[in-house]
């Protein structure tokens, strides 16, 4: 029986790695994957707490998060393909049309 804080610490480490990835990488698809990593870290927290408190609600939330992630993947990747068609690049520094 692994204690709850262990899971929370692992989830926190994964979330921080995702944050660093989002802030430091320039490739839009890698940034997208780091966002997925952060979402998964949160999922782990939800399930760990659900197990600790003995309630199923947290796992239903994880189900909804997965749905949102799937919708996000569909729309986000379509956006990236549309951007690549226009600019021949998916570097976030080339996304500057609306930059002030």
């Amino acid at each position: 029986m692994v204690p709850l804080p262990y899971y929370l610490i692992v989830s926190g480490i994964l979330f921080s790695i995702g944050t660093i990835g989002v802030l430091t990488r320039r490739n839009a698809i890698v940034i997208f994957m780091c966002v997925e990593l952060m979402l998964n870290a949160v999922n782990l927290t939800f399930i760990a707490f659900s197990h600790e408190l003995g309630k199923i609600d947290g796992q239903v939330f994880v189900f909804f998060i997965m749905t949102v992630a799937a919708a996000e993947a569909a729309v986000g990747l379509a956006l990236m393909i549309a951007f690549y068609k226009n600019r021949e690049s998916i570097d976030v520094e080339d996304v500057n049309l609306m930059k002030w």
Binding site: L4, V10, L23, T24, E36, L37, A48, G54, K85
Partner: protein, 169 residues
């Protein structure tokens, strides 16, 4: 024994998570991310959530990651060369480390004050009723409205993806 197994899986999850950020080639990042997802599925099994582990493997490692790898190969992305702004790396790493310290402090200091409504879910219930049935019951009674809204969200996502994939945008 279980703690030892947990340590191994956690180590693999964190190392592959770091590889997602560190790899220069997006394909390698995507494959490392799949390894991380499998480690998380293992955690879910250890937390007595087998349905969630199955969904994790099928939806995340199976569907979403295939879509991402597909797009990476379709766009024929090259390895990133050099970094134009080095400030971003420094600032981003500092912010990430601060986030980690904050999370660890919060989780290790605040766990004595863990509150929340507890339910009657335990190993015996899960084995008798079945995890999938428990989730189904909860989703179609307590969470019926969010479930319906989710269907609307998926419809919007489909329409959005079709519109964005048109020839002229």
């Amino acid at each position: 024994m279980e703690t030892f197994f947990f340590a191994i899986v956690a180590l693999v999850a964190i190392v592959s998570g770091m590889l997602v950020v560190k790899c220069r080639n997006p394909i390698n990042s995507a494959l490392s991310l799949i390894v991380t997802f499998f480690c998380l599925a293992t955690f879910y099994v250890m937390l007595e959530a087998p349905f969630m582990a199955a969904i994790q493997v099928i939806v995340y490692a199976g569907a979403i990651m295939v879509l991402i790898v597909f797009v990476i190969m379709l766009l024929n992305l090259r390895t990133e060369t050099g970094s134009r702004y080095t400030h971003a790396v420094t600032v981003g790493t500092i912010i990430g480390v601060l986030t980690l310290i904050e999370i660890v402090y919060f989780f290790s200091g605040g766990r004595s004050g863990l509150t929340g409504a507890t339910g009657g879910l335990n190993t015996e219930t899960i084995e008798r009723v079945g995890h999938t049935e428990l989730i189904g019951r909860s989703m179609f009674t307590d969470f019926l409205l969010p479930f319906e809204i989710t269907s609307l969200l998926l419809l919007v996502a489909i329409v959005g993806a079709v519109v964005l994939a048109k020839k002229k945008i």
